[in-house]
């Protein structure tokens, strides 16, 4: 039995009937075609699917679409405003914070929330805060530099 949900994604409201078991990440990718949110694992370890749900960063593979009913979601596609990159996106570009790009959307979404209200975040805080996001290419070093720059402190 499908359940009706209404979820606002990147400022646009979407009404769909969904299976109760449908994951938010599949709702975003398969029903809305927002494929910027990547899936890297099946145990909520990698963080590639991180999005913002009502202002908090969450792993969208660990949230059911029905749980997001009535909520507001921001994905990587909704981060740039009026054609201008978000400072965190710009920082990842400037500091070579990505190689294959697959973990990048989740990494950027996690980073945006990590530095919110903490513009002078320390290296140790960044490294600890990104523990739930795996990157296999960069060795994290340039991601840490990017997040520091993107924090604006």
């Amino acid at each position: 039995m499908n359940i009706p949900v209404s979820i606002t994604v990147n400022g646009v409201q979407h009404r769909r009937d969904v299976e109760p078991r449908l994951l938010l990440v599949h709702f975003l990718r398969d029903m809305l075609g927002l494929t910027g949110t990547n899936i890297g694992c099946d145990t909520s370890q990698c963080g590639a699917c991180t999005v913002h749900l009502d202002g908090m960063s969450v792993k969208s593979c660990t949230v059911l679409a029905v749980q997001a009913d009535g909520s507001s979601v921001t994905t990587i596609e909704g981060l740039a405003q009026n054609g201008k990159l978000h400072p965190m996106q710009q920082a990842f570009w400037d500091h070579h914070g990505l190689q294959c790009g697959y973990c990048t959307p989740g990494m950027i979404m996690a980073a945006v929330k990590l530095v919110e209200n903490n513009p002078s975040i320390s290296e140790a805080e960044i490294r600890h805060g990104l523990e739930g996001n795996l990157c296999r290419c960069t060795g994290y070093e340039n991601i840490v530099k990017s997040v520091k720059a993107g924090a604006g402190g």
Binding site: L22, N38, G40, C100, G101, Y102, P105, R136
Partner: protein, 792 residues
């Protein structure tokens, strides 16, 4: 234009940072169905029967096929062939590997049936309704045990489960060296199994055009042309001219996406059988039990040393676990990419190496970042440390004593390789200075007095990257040549499409290759578009692995750009009524003029247009402006690295903390230092993963215990300090750019450097060696047993 050598920001990044990467899993086609694969829970079993009836009755299930269906074919989709091995040394026994198992499964994760459904969720539901009746058979998982007489056989036709024995070196001379040695340093070790874990799981999407008889396969591959060749020639049987293989953006490979995997056969076979597009995306759990694994050696090795620390001989016997089948390039890794590197950075007059490739009931093992070379470095550099300890020498001093001197390049090792260029003394000079090595030792002495377990690890490592030329690699057993294609197509308006057979999956070729071509022709990078990863757009290619893309792929583009320059210059000479020999092609700004008259120049764009307009071309010159090169390198390149790591071990928990990581590399000339540094640092972290945490663990029944990210420990951000990196530059004479591979050096060196640091920290406790991964638990156990008077 001066792009080469500069840290140009990557042109590919805007799409990735905005969520518009073109990954295979993002593809959605009209009418697309979704596949899921039923996999064996047993390491070794006979398939008695497969009952698909309940699954077929589930609403939304389109079809179910078994291994036998694929082998025999259907009316619409012909029979599938077995997956070939692309590197077969003489006398190698190759087991048959069907895309889906027929009659017998040989590792946990071996596919037995495939479901196609209207959604991925339904396909997964249906998997649980398929009833497979298995008769479990005895399994073997340990390579050395599996090679013993009387061990259960994985494949009845392969005696002692031994697929091949590969040897290299002078056995008698090495025996003599050991007989005459003052000291013999011996070590038995395990170089543990690793599971690559690119963050993007493998995926495949196929679309069949039955009227044209054309198949398109999108697959997460590092080398789409090789996949097309193998699909056409061996597994799927669709002619190459009707088969298009596309590898768009690929989310990391590290070797694991080189190989021709079963799903690359199954998914297009289904698309043809069902006449509709089919998609498959691996779950992470599937990646763990189906992506080819890495390493997994059991090795006995010994180093012969004179009392003054001079190395005189090296002897290595390895049992290499190949898994249940020979993956595409599997036999290459523990042979020609391994024993040939045994000399390291040193003069070792006598070397003997022998590898047994052993079949077991585990996931196939193939190339994983470093591939053979980290294993070679690991044991040599461990032996060198143990030799220093036995002789009471400093670990840097003993290495310096044996380094190949700068004036002996090109240097012929006793194990086939001819090193191109290097300055290993300078490498260590730079390292010691950057690290402040002497000061570090003083600090360590103080820490030891305080009872702290502080260790300093040192290594000096060699890599053979960019394998070639083709006659050499094919004589070793490679079924493909290792050249690369590069096409520079100048459009009439002066913009360029540049086609490369290399494939980027994080390396940034769209930036670095554009830097190279821009400089060769004196054009702005913006005028250049790099095209890769599509067999319909690029005539042929051999792909990206073995740190070969800059040395071979970019060199092909240099040669094509040279041809373009010559043609442009000939046309300009004709139009300016001058001799070709009197012309200047100004690579700073892409103008062409008669020597001494730069004011009367022709621009590149002008000549490009006239070459297509063709109204005034010199006699014998064809219209159009395009050049093709198949570049075959004259030899491998030999990047090298020296590293110092400082660790501190918590003696109460055994936990290792990396305090400093200093690395100096010689990767020849660098096209983009920012990207090279990213490769080195990323590589180091992967290498540290092996030293401290990562381990693909099987139990004695062949169950994969580390089958998810919950029990396979990938490195995380908070486990590392900022790296201190330095570089020296000895250009490689083996390619026009003077570059050496940069993608694997960090990984190759980092593993053993960290292992040496940990063992140095534990040295005061009398602990000699612990096998990796050096987890807190293992170290804690070793500390306890040393304190209880036990030896290690």
């Amino acid at each position: 234009m001066g792009y080469v050598g500069k840290s140009v920001k990557r042109v590919e990044d805007p799409r990735f940072i905005q969520g518009h990467g073109k990954y295979v899993a993002n593809i959605k086609l009209p009418g697309m169905a979704y596949a899921a694969i039923k996999r064996s829970p047993y390491a070794h079993a006979e398939i008695i029967s497969i009952n698909t009836e309940k699954a077929e009755n589930l609403e939304g299930v389109v079809a179910i096929f078994t291994g036998r269906d694929l082998m025999e074919g259907t009316k619409l989709s012909g029979p599938c062939g077995a997956l070939p091995c692309g590197f077969v040394p003489p006398n190698t026994k190759v087991p048959t590997r069907h895309p889906l198992a027929v009659d017998e499964v040989n590792h946990v994760g071996d596919g037995v049936a495939v479901v196609v459904a209207e959604s991925a969720y339904i396909a997964y539901d249906a998997l649980d309704l398929i009833e497979v009746d298995y008769k479990p058979l005895p399994a073997v998982v340990d390579a050395k045990a599996a090679a013993q007489e009387g061990a259960p056989l994985v494949h009845a036709e392969i005696a002692n489960n031994t697929s091949f024995l590969w040897t290299l070196g002078d056995k008698e001379a090495t025996k003599k060296a050991f007989a005459e040695a003052d000291h013999v340093i011996e070590l038995e070790l395990i170089n543990q199994r690793l599971i690559p874990n690119a963050i993007e799981p493998r995926a495949a999407v196929a679309q069949w055009d039955k009227f044209a008889g054309e198949m398109t396969l999108w697959t997460t591959s590092q080398n789409p042309h090789i996949i097309r060749l193998l699909l056409s020639g061996f597994t799927l049987g669709i002619p190459e001219n009707k088969l298009r293989v596309v590898s768009p953006d690929v989310g990391g490979g590290f070797g694991s996406k080189i190989f021709h995997y079963p799903e690359e056969v199954i998914i297009p076979w289904l698309a043809r059988a069902l006449d509709r597009p089919v998609k498959w995306v691996a779950s992470r759990s599937e990646s763990f039990m189906t992506d080819s694994h890495g390493r997994d050696h059991i090795t006995n090795c010994k180093l012969a040393v004179k009392s003054d620390g001079t190395f005189t001989g090296l002897w290595v016997s390895t049992w290499a676990n190949m898994g249940a089948y020979l993956s595409t390039f599997a036999p290459l890794i523990p042979t020609a990419l391994y024993i040939t590197l045994f000399s390291g950075l040193y003069k070792i007059p006598a070397i003997w190496g022998e590898t047994r490739g052993v079949i077991t009931n585990t996931v196939p093992v193939d190339a994983y970042r470093g591939a053979g070379r980290p294993e070679a470095s690991y044991q040599l550099e461990r032996l060198v440390d143990l030799a220093a300890r036995e002789l009471g020498m400093d670990v840097v001093e003993i290495r310096r004593k044996n380094l190949i001197p700068e004036n002996e390049f090109p240097y012929q090792t006793p194990v086939a390789m001819i090193y191109d260029s290097g300055n290993y003394q300078k490498l260590f000079d730079t390292l010691e200075e950057l690290a402040g090595y002497q000061e570090m030792r003083k600090e360590q002495a103080k820490a030891r007095q305080e009872g702290r377990l502080v260790g300093i690890g040192v290594s000096g490592c060699i890599e053979a990257s960019a394998p070639g030329p083709s006659p050499v690699v094919t004589s070793l057993g490679s079924a493909i040549g290792l050249y690369e294609s590069g096409i520079v197509r100048v459009h009439p308006t002066g913009q360029l499409s540049v086609f490369t057979g290399s494939h980027a999956h994080g390396q940034g070729h769209e930036t670095t290759f554009a830097q190279v071509v821009a400089d060769e022709l004196g054009l702005p990078m913006e005028a250049i578009q790099i095209v890769h990863g599509d067999t319909d757009r690029i005539p042929f290619g051999t792909g990206t692995y073995g740190s070969r893309s800059a040395a071979i792929g970019a060199s092909a583009l240099v040669r094509s750009a040279e041809k373009i320059r010559e043609k442009v210059t000939r046309i300009a000479a004709h139009q300016l009524e001058a001799n070709f020999e009197d012309m200047v092609y100004d690579q700073d700004n892409g103008t062409i003029y008669v020597k001494g008259s730069p004011d009367k120049s022709k621009s590149f764009a002008e000549i490009a247009f006239t070459s297509y307009y063709a109204a005034n071309l010199p006699p014998g010159i064809e219209p159009g402006l395009e050049a093709t090169t198949y570049y075959d390198p004259s030899n491998f390149t030999f990047p090298n690295s020296a590293q110092i790591v400082q660790v501190e071990i918590d003696k109460h928990t055994g936990a290792v903390r990396i305090e400093r990581f200093v690395a100096v590399d010689d990767v020849g000339k660098t096209i983009n230092p920012m990207i090279v540094n990213g490769q080195i640092v990323g590589g180091i972290v992967q290498g540290v993963g092996q030293a401290l945490w990562e381990h693909g663990v099987y139990d004695e029944n062949g169950q994969l215990l580390s089958g998810s990210l919950m029990n396979y420990a990938l490195p995380r951000a908070d486990q590392f300090p900022m790296m201190e990196t330095g570089r020296i530059e000895t250009p490689s004479p083996h390619n026009p750019l003077g570059v050496k591979g940069a993608g694997e050096m960090g990984t190759i060196a980092a593993t053993v450097t960290v292992a040496n640091a940990v063992m140095d920290a534990l040295a005061p406790l009398g602990i000699r060696h612990i096998d990796m991964p050096l987890t807190a638990e293992k170290i804690w156990q070793a500390i306890q047993s040393s304190q209880n008077g036990g030896a290690n």
